[in-house]
Amino acid sequence: MPRLARTPIHLALITLSLLWTLPSLGLLISSIRPPADVLSSGWWTVFQHPFEFTQYSLENYRAVLGAAGMGQALLNSFTIAIPATVMPIAIAAFAAYALAWMEFPGRQWLFLAIVTLLVVPLQMTFIPLLRAYRDLGLTGTFAGVWLAHTGYSLPLGIYLLTNYIRALPQDLIEAAAVDGATHLKIFTRVIVPLSMPAIASFAVFQFLWVWNDLLVALVFLGGTPTVAPLTITLTNLVGSRGQDWHLLTAGAFVTMTVPLLVFFALQRYFVRGLLAGSVKG
């Protein structure tokens, strides 16, 4: 194409990129401005003299991590998200190996039944589970949320991992079996190392899903501050301090840091995981 004809393309792309970046940029800038400034003038006014560093401070972050409880919530988010990622991976990987490489009656049928469970929206399960949780005393406990996230993620996890593990070269697995390796050895020495790309994609997807989840946490944890993850704490902050934009912007950025780090560090797995897992829940 001639050079000139491309100008509209450049313009469109630059406009869209700016439009998509401005919201987050406004948040980031506001979160490092002193409270009085945030509440009295628009964040774009910093561009009048952007290098006057006295107009920036980290005070909002100190306030939000301390008194506003986001520090505790950050810990809670890790406490929820890490086991809620490890547990489904371990359980789904063992199940996937059995479904892909072990002989037993009803194997195909069972796999189909598990895939069918992908259609169930989480909402379908809340009321009976909530009652059972109350009777068992699991409401408001970390274990309760881990198990819920694990249960919900298994159809997708088993589906993805079974397809991947089934496609591994048969020779490798048979060779290991001929050498007298037990199933557990084949699984840990051959299957798991070879399936790392699929496991990593699922891990990234599941971790972000749990980290960013609000609904499951609200239903099974309620609002208790000692166990509430970042998403709940931030939501409560919107409710109770809705006009304190210096706190809300810093708080929102705290919730975003970990997903953004994952995004930049593991972009390849991130994209693959998102694409594979987008239909969940």
């Binding site: 628009g42 490890v86 063992f94 809340f126 159809p155 939501t235 239909v279």
Partner: protein
């Protein structure tokens, strides 16, 4: 810290323990029969406990009254259909479905095609994909700040009102104004979802054989004709998948509405309505009925989605 270790390590230990037990005590032939079920047992147990049984129970509870004490037939469903606020939720959800799916898929396609023609392709794509990492709650706060409203005459701190007051208009309460607030919420979802559509569609666009496009160009087709006659038909199946995936996501949209307006001022959607029936009104019958309707709406879309696309992604 301890909790993380216990939770993560426990599961792995469980498998090793169970495996060791079977290896040690089961006789040779039986071992081969039992072991698959040992590997499958935790998964099946959780699937049955968290998905199968609750789903069946929810269908049953939807036929009972508020406290699940007596059988009421379909009257929960009938009262939901007669309820004006549920009607509003349905209307809004359809609005969301059309708005989010239409805009984010076409915008995603546009960006995919345009970015394909410039040298700095990864940059706009990364910037537009980035919001996918942000939670709905985080995104809601970001946009609530953009929509922030101050009375006329005071300095505006929300970007949108900042722009329109500088153009000489009166500031607008974007989240309160009933003709606008649904658009304001839908815009958030578009912001989040366009990147996803773009990444999938961009991969599909790159998969179109270059010779085909060259041939069309030699035959005198212009860029617009190439787009509609070659690009769109060639990636039809990806468009379908991206659309159904977005529809599934939007059908269950909850967080944005819950954080931004809590479903007030005419912004209720199906999932936020269900949450209210469960936790505010404690009417489990109607809450379950809404869940069942959601399931019925999801099934056909999911079938199309899985049939069209599941194989290609898992590669």
């Amino acid at each position: 810290m301890l909790a993380i270790l216990v939770g993560s390590g426990g599961v792995v230990a469980l498998f090793y323990g169970a495996n060791a037990l079977v290896e040690r005590f089961a006789p040779g032939r039986l071992k081969g029969r039992i072991l698959p079920w040992v590997y499958l047992a935790p998964a099946l147990l959780l699937l049955v406990a968290y998905l199968v049984i609750p789903t069946v129970l929810t269908v049953y509870v939807s036929l009972l009254d508020a406290r699940s004490q007596s059988f009421v037939g379909f009257s929960n469903y009938i009262s939901l259909f007669a309820d004006p606020s549920m009607g509003e939720a349905f209307r809004n959800n359809i609005f969301w479905l059309v708005g989010v799916t239409g805009v984010s898929v076409s915008l995603g396609l546009l960006i995919a095609v345009l970015a394909d023609r410039v040298g700095y392709e990864p940059l706009p794509k990364t910037l537009i994909f980035l919001p996918m990492a942000i939670s709905f709650v985080g995104a809601s706060v970001i946009w609530k700040f953009i929509y922030a409203f101050r009375p006329a005459g005071t300095a505006q701190i929300g970007l949108l009102n900042g722009v329109i007051t500088s153009l000489g208009f009166e500031p607008v309460g974007w989240l309160v104004e009933r003709s606008l607030n649904n658009f304001a919420l839908i815009a958030i979802m578009i912001w989040l979802q366009t990147g996803f559509c773009m990444v999938l569609l961009s991969a599909a666009v790159k998969g179109i054989p270059q010779e085909m496009i060259e041939a069309a160009r030699i035959d005198g087709a212009n860029e617009v004709q190439i787009f509609w006659r070659i690009v769109v038909p060639m990636i039809r199946s990806t468009i379908l998948v991206v659309s159904t995936t977005t529809v599934l996501l939007v059908l269950k949209v909850f967080d944005i509405v819950y954080v931004m307006t809590a479903g007030n001022q005419g912004t209720e959607v199906i999932a936020s309505r269900m949450f209210k029936e469960m936790f505010s009104f404690r009417h489990y019958g109607r809450g379950s009925a809404i869940a069942v309707m959601l399931l019925l709406a999801v099934i056909p879309i999911m079938v199309v989605n899985i049939r069209e696309f599941r194989q290609p992604t898992t590669r």
